[in-house]
């Protein structure tokens, strides 16, 4: 990569109904993270202490949408990020969490919090502090417009590196053969 630019690109990331695996894969670019830092500045991400997403150039979203808070966060990202990126299988398709889509939500909660034998005084949590789950898990493009998808569960560090360096160089990101994977 060339000389550091004057104005760094602001990058926000978040995990909705994700497993943080896509973030780990992002960190899997290893020491290339140091190469990246002269060009980007982190906004809200699990890696910083910033609580809300401000105006950003790129927003990386891992995870599908499974509860009300996910919807609020996703809309905040869409409002503030020039480019919104679905990172990983969950954000792009709902992913494995969407395997609950053929189950009744009330049955799931009943099974986990009430019927489960190891619970002595079970009960479905009902504090308003807790976000209500949606009846289905959705890919993020069913809630907001998405500009790019980086598939994989998770995408490899190399795929994320290629994607980001393409964007930073002003190219339309292209994942060639070997960098596109769905598993």
């Amino acid at each position: 990569m060339s000389e550091p630019v004057e104005k760094k690109l602001r990058l926000a990331t978040t995990s909705l109904a994700g497993c943080f695996g896509c973030h780990m894969s992002f960190l899997d670019i290893d020491e290339r993270l140091l190469e990246l830092l002269p060009f980007i500045e982190f906004d809200r991400t699990p890696l910083t202490d910033i609580k809300h997403c401000g105006p950003c150039d790129i927003g990386l979203v891992e995870g599908g949408v499974c509860n009300a808070e996910n919807v609020h966060v996703l809309r905040e990202f869409r409002k503030n990020c020039k480019l919104l990126v679905a990172l990983g299988a969950c954000a792009a398709t709902g992913g494995l969490p969407a395997q609950r889509n053929h189950l009744d939500l009330a049955d799931c909660l009943q099974e986990v919090y009430v019927t489960e034998a190891s619970l002595s005084r079970g009960g479905i949590p009902n504090d308003p502090e807790l976000p209500l789950p949606l009846d289905k898990v959705h890919p993020i493009h069913e809630v907001v417009k998405v500009d790019y998808f980086v598939p994989g569960c998770p995408p490899s560090g190399d795929a994320i590196w290629k994607f980001l360096t393409d964007l930073l160089a002003g190219r339309s990101p292209k994942l060639g053969h070997g960098l596109i994977s769905y598993d």
Binding site: A86, A89, A92, T93, G94, G95, L96, A98, Q99, N101, H102, K136, P139, H141, E142, V146, Y148, F149, V150, P151, C153, K174, L175, H177, I180, S181, Y182, D183
Partner: protein
């Protein structure tokens, strides 16, 4: 051998034997046209439409288009590949293709085609179908939510195994794979894990039990070479070409 005849595929001459379709002749000649429901051992089916090509200003499924001398066919164009991408995206959106937990991942023709066409997402609202698995059989499992309705198992079971175990039933988006038993259960059929109908499923619908995830990542069928290369290796060669290969 009959008289050598040729048609034009993307401006290049492709020889064919009368009776061959455009897809068959192209594959025999080492020219890849993407396809899913076509299998060299079975009669063309024409359901996936991925092999669509353009000729005479119209689109045709090349698996059912008879090769004719002088025919001009366009296949490797941006227009045709864009159409193919959309078709494969429709298949992904229509089923539950959760590759991260599928035993067929890396060995799946639909997935490999997605990679080849550079697909990063399904592009449509996912249908999330809800068809229960059939785990009744002691050595086989059926996950109907991954079925692409290529009918290869239907054809293999009827034509090769002589058992007629599978059918498609229903209409429109309700169309789905069924098991030909009064109970509808795979356990109540004469299917065996060694049947052609089991081996031929290009996706993760018909699975053998207790053998999943046995192949390391990196060694799976489409990890090694893309589907375009494998399809050419699987294609029947004309006698002359086969003879040359065997002497090498």
């Amino acid at each position: 051998m009959s008289e050598r005849q040729e048609f034009l595929l993307d401006g290049e001459e492709v020889p064919f034997i009368p009776g061959q379709t455009v897809l068959q002749a192209a594959l025999s000649a080492g020219r890849y046209i993407p396809h899913l429901c076509y299998h060299p051992e079975f009669k063309p089916h024409g359901s996936c439409k991925v092999c669509t090509v353009k000729s005479g200003g119209r689109t045709h499924a090349s698996c059912t288009l008879p090769a004719r001398a002088g025919l001009e066919v366009d296949s490797a164009t941006e227009e045709m590949n864009q159409l193919r991408r959309t078709l494969v995206q429709m298949l992904f959106a229509e089923g539950n293709h959760f590759c991260p937990s599928c035993e067929k991942s890396g060995n799946c023709a639909l997935q490999a085609l997605g990679y080849d066409l550079g697909l990063t997402h399904a592009g449509f609202r996912h249908f999330f179908p809800d068809r229960p698995v059939d785990a009744s059989h002691p050595s086989l499992l059926l996950d109907f939510n991954r079925c692409i309705l290529c009918e290869l198992c239907v054809r293999a079971s009827a034509e090769v195994d002589g058992k007629n175990i599978f059918s498609l039933s229903g209409r429109g988006i309700g169309k789905h794979l069924i098991v030909n038993a009064a109970s509808g259960r795979l356990a109540d059929t004469g299917i065996a894990a060694t049947d052609k109908s089991v081996a031929v499923c290009p996706v993760g619908v018909i699975l053998k039990k207790r053998v999943g995830f046995a192949v390391p990542i990196g060694k799976r069928r489409y990890d090694e070479r893309p589907i375009s290369a494998q399809a050419l290796e699987d294609a029947p060669r004309p006698p002359a070409a086969t003879a040359i290969q065997e002497t090498q």
